[in-house]
Each structure stands twice: as C-alpha cells, then as structure tokens.
C-alpha cells in the first residue's frame, strides 16, 4: 500500500520524534547515588516503552497533521464473470403489461419486470463489466462498460422513461457490438438483448452485423418479452400465410441470429417468472474466468494516525499519573 501526505512539509518536524528517546517526560529527581544500585529490568523495559510511546505519539501526530492517506489504486483480480452489454428495447410497447395493456393497479409492465429482474441479475454478478444501451427508433448509448454497480443500476432504472414507437434492432445491435469493440480483454463477451418484439433488419445492416459478429465471438442472448397472443420466436406460419420478415419478424430475427454461427440462445418469456428464469439461465451460463480490476479508493488515514497518537499519549499520561515525588513539591526548593 502506498501512502501520501497532503502537506509533506510537516515531515521536516519528524526529527522531533527523536526527542523522547533523548529526554524523558518524567521530571528528573535528584538522588544522591544510583551507581551502586543495579538496574532493574522492569524499570528499563518501562523506560523504553515510554520513550517509544513518546516517539510514536509525535510521529503519529506529525503524520496526522500532514494528512496521511493511502493512495487510491487499482489491482487486478481474477473471478467469474463476463463483459455484458444490456441492449434494452425502449419502444413504447415495453410499457405495457405482458397482456398487452397499459398497467393498472398492481400490474407490472414488461419494462418494470425486466428492470427489476435485470437489477437483481446485476447485483448478483460481482465482477461483471456491464454496459447499457437502449434502442427504439435509434440506438442510445446509455452507459459505457463499467464495473460501477450503482451506475448500471441507475441506467437500468432510466428505462422507465416512456419510449418511442419503433424497434430498430439492427442499429441497436451494431451499437452493442461497438461497445464491446473497445474492450480488448480476453473476457467472455455477452450481449443481452431485451425486447418485446422484433423488426426487420435491413439487408445492409445484416451484412455489417454478420461481419462484426464474425470478427469477434460474442455470446448473444435474446430475452424476448412476448405479449400474450402475439407470434413467438418459434411460431410457424400457418399454411397460406406468407413467411417473410415483414410478416413474422421474430421468427426471422431468430433465424438470422442462428445463422451468425455464434453462441446464441433465445428466451421467450410471457410473464415475469419466465423472465426471471431466463435471466437465471444467462447468469448460469456466463461463468467464464475473468480478470477484473478492483479500485481501492484513496483512504484517509488521519483518524488512524491520531488514534495511534492517542494511544501513545495515553501511555505517557498513565506514566505521568503514576509519577511520584521523593520529596513532596510543597517542601521543594
């Protein structure tokens, strides 16, 4: 641990700490002759304890006055986790319940459920680096990759704001990949896409995503918050219905993801419990070793320095209180 002083000039006073070693705090009392009397080990020990206590007290006081602090620093540690980007759908449909209505009474909207469960997930994952991005009509860079849980939780909370109408999955994904791009560590990379619907991805955007995904392996999880009665990921079009991305965007987005050749899983959730299960599943899957840095903050050690000084001074005070005079002061001089 490295230490620093706010006012290094006080170190000039440090030689004062030698004073107790040279002079004792007790009042010397004249005595005819001590030469003949052997030194007593207990007294010698106490003498040294008092001298060291004095030196310690002065040193600690000087360091305290100088503002002793431990320097902040970062250390690398290894744990289990991943670098996760939460890509959250902010389209207005997310503010509805799973039943597709505006929430009433005790009902929970899809975004509220997702928020609650995601926050839970973030809190349980200790060493993850989490970034947050949102998308509706256009993607929004909410929070860069960070390990500050409070920031992530706040970003997830910000999903609360009413969203816009459209769902632009393609550009959202591109943004999430960008966010992972800057990160060069060998940790596992995860993109969690939380949405309640899909949209057609432009052919050009599809190509760009394909290249981006090919460049670096990314685990993609799609948490599909399905509204009751709408087509699911695995819905097969009824005979006679057309099987196009425009008609069945979920089915085609899923097929696109599967075609990327990356580790991909889709979770279809129709109620908050299912969302919870899906998140627990993701949590279980993403357990690869990760090196993460832990920041040790700048630590104020003044208080401790003063506490040490207090201990030294109390020892000296006790010695002073235990001091006796051979000749009562009233008779002196």
């Amino acid at each position: 641990m490295n230490f620093g002083l706010s006012t290094p000039m006080v170190l000039l006073l440090l030689p004062l700490a030698l004073l107790p070693l040279l002079r004792s705090a007790q009042v010397p009392q004249n005595f005819p002759s001590i030469e003949d009397i052997e030194t007593d080990p207990v007294s010698v020990a106490v003498d040294w304890v008092l001298r060291l206590a004095g030196a310690l007290a002065i040193t600690a006081l000087i360091l305290g006055i100088g503002g002793l602090h431990g320097l902040g620093r970062t250390i690398e540690k290894t744990g289990e986790g991943a670098h996760i980007v939460l890509l959250i759908d902010r389209s207005s449909s997310m503010d509805n319940t799973f039943a597709g209505r505006a929430p009433e009474g005790g009902e929970e909207s899809k975004s509220a459920a997702a928020r609650r469960l995601l926050k839970d997930f973030i809190l349980r994952r200790q060493h993850d680096l989490v970034g947050v991005a949102a998308f509706s009509t256009s993607p929004m860079h909410v929070l860069p990759m960070t390990e500050h849980k409070e920031a992530v939780l706040a970003a997830v909370d910000a999903m609360d704001r009413p969203g816009l109408a459209f769902t632009n999955v393609g550009r959202g994904l591109a943004l999430a990949l960008d966010m992972q791009e800057a990160d060069t560590s060998p940790a596992a990379r995860v993109v969690v896409l939380v949405s309640d619907g899909a949209a057609v991805i432009d052919r050009k955007v599809q190509d760009a995503l394909r290249t981006a995904f090919a460049r670096r392996p990314i685990n993609l999880y799609w948490l599909f918050l399905r509204t009751e009665g709408t087509p699911g990921i695995s819905s097969v079009p009824a005979p006679g219905e057309e099987d196009t991305p425009q008609a069945m965007p979920e089915r085609h987005l899923d097929r696109f993801f599967k075609s990327l050749g990356i580790s991909y899983r889709a979770f279809e959730a129709e109620n908050p419990e299912a969302v919870g299960h899906a998140i627990a599943e993701i949590s279980k899957l993403e357990r690869s070793p990760i090196t993460y840095t832990e920041r040790i903050p700048h630590e104020d050690l003044k208080g401790r320095a003063f506490a040490v000084a207090l201990v030294g001074l109390l020892i000296l005070l006790a010695a002073k209180l235990a001091e006796v005079r051979l000749v009562p002061a009233t008779e002196g001089a």
């Binding site: 004792s24 005595f31 005819p32 002759s33 001590i34 207990v42 007294s43 003498d47 006796v324 051979l326």
Partner: protein, 285 residues
C-alpha cells in the same frame, strides 16, 4: 526542624596531645600545673620550685627530687567536608545546611577550647575557596559559614578528601569527617588509611527520603547527583526492599570500616540530635 545549634559542643580525646601550646586536653607535656604525674630528679626536670622535700629526704643517695605535673595542651581540630554532588541532596533536609551547622558548632567549640580549627572542603579536589586553614581566630568564620550555606555541590567524586587528609599534618589531631559516605569501598579505605594517624570522628549525613520513606509504588526518574545519569524506576515493594537492603549493606560496610579505624561513626538522619552528638563526642571514643 531548625533546632538552633548549641553554642558549645564539648569534645574529649582519650589520647594525649603532643602539642606544646597550652590548651584543654590531656597532654604528653609535663609541667608545673595540673594533675600530679610522677617524680624525677632535679637533673631530669630542672624546676627547683617543685622540689619534693619528702622524697628528697627519703632518698638514701641524697638526690634532689622534683614533682612533675601533667600539662594540658591544645589539639588541632580539622573538619573534612565532603562537598561532592551527592551532598547536594535536598530531601527532608539540606545536607549542605546540616554540614554548615556542624562546621559552625565545631568552629565555635574549638575556639572555646583554645584549639585550632581547620576546614577542608573537597569533592574530586580540595576547594580552597571553601576551606579554612588552621586558625584560632574568629575572623573569617562568618564568611566561611556563609560560603558553605550558599554552596551548591555539583562536582562528582570524593577523592579530594584523601588529598585534604594529607594537608592536616603529621601531628595527631581530631579529624571530623562530614560526608554521606557514598564513596566506593576503595575510596573509603583509602580515606581512612590516609587518616590513620589521627583521631577520626566520622559523621554520616543521611536522609530518610533516600531510603526509609521511598514510595512503595510509583514511577519516578532519578538523576544521580554525582554523575548526572538518569534512570527511570518503577518502584514496587520488592524493589524498594532491594534498594533498602543495598543502602543498608553500604552503610554496614562503612560502619565496620570506621569502627576498625577508631571511632564508631555518628549518624545524622534529617536532623542533628545535638545532645546525642555531644554525648558521642564527650565519650571520646
């Protein structure tokens, strides 16, 4: 505490002074006055005024016999005063004040008895400023006492006492040593050896605060008055007993050494018991 010193302290000797000068003490001189001592022929003692007719007539050879009497002579009184640092101890009393009181009384007593009085103050050397050469005069006595009362001992050692012993002279005299006798055994022996020709009255000045009334518990730092060395002491009953044992052992050594060289020492603790000192000196041994 300040008992006024008596004007006189009659001291006696059990030996005979060899001094020619008349005084108050028994002498080896024979003369015309005092106690009858023996008879001698007129040829031996040419004092026809003291012819003993009876003895002369009784002598078959017809020799003239003369009565001889003991003369009383003076003696020299010397006070050897230890002014080393340890005498600066101020406990229940000031050791130097006690020493000055003793000097005052001995000077007066010597003057009254017609003896010479000399004072040699010494630590590791003889202090001429404080010392008074042998004198019968009263002049300078006040100055001497004032100087003694004002003196603050600071130097270490008492080897000057041996040097001062050499200044006393060869004629047997009464030597009063006033000291705390915190000398090393070697120094003590040297001092008594140097004074072996004299009648030595050691007076040991002690203080209850340096031994008897030491606190049983407590912490204090002592500064040795001789060496200036400091030592922290955590006093407790066991250590106090140990200290007192050592101080007592030192005192016992001194007493046996003093007794071997003549007189039992007189000890002063905190205050001078003048009547006891008078009795001690009057006993003469």
């Amino acid at each position: 505490m300040t008992v006024a010193p008596p004007v006189d302290l009659p001291y006696q000797i059990i030996w005979r002074s060899r001094a020619l000068r008349q005084g108050a003490h028994r002498s080896t001189q024979s003369g015309a006055g005092g106690l009858f001592r023996d008879l001698a022929t007129l040829l031996e003692h040419r004092d026809p005024r003291r012819i003993d007719l009876r003895q002369t007539l009784r002598d078959p050879f017809g020799m003239l016999h003369v009565r001889r009497f003991e003369e009383r002579s003076q003696i020299g009184v010397t006070l050897l005063l230890d002014v080393s640092g340890s005498m600066g101890f101020h406990g229940a009393a000031r050791k130097m004040a006690l020493a000055a009181d003793l000097a005052q009384v001995f000077a007066a007593a010597a003057r009254r008895a017609g003896d010479t009085f000399a004072l040699y103050a010494a630590d590791d050397q003889v202090h001429d400023a404080l010392s008074v050469p042998p004198t019968r005069s009263r002049t300078g006595e006040e100055t001497m006492l004032a100087a003694l009362r004002a003196y603050v001992p600071k130097r270490k050692g008492a080897s000057g006492l041996v040097e001062a012993a050499g200044k006393i002279g060869r004629k047997r005299s009464l030597v009063v040593i006033v000291s705390d006798f915190l000398l090393s055994e070697v120094q003590l022996e040297a001092l008594f050896a140097a004074l072996s020709g004299h009648d030595v009255v050691p007076i040991r000045v002690a203080d209850t605060r340096e031994s008897a009334t030491l606190p049983s518990w407590g912490l204090f730092e002592l500064a040795d008055l001789e060496t200036g060395r400091r030592r922290l002491v955590v006093m407790r009953p066991a250590l106090k007993a140990e200290w007192q044992r050592r101080i007592e052992a030192r005192r016992a050594f001194f007493r046996s050494l003093a007794a071997r060289h003549g007189r039992e020492p007189f000890e002063i603790t905190d205050r001078i018991a003048w009547d006891r000192l008078g009795a001690h000196l009057a006993a003469g041994a």
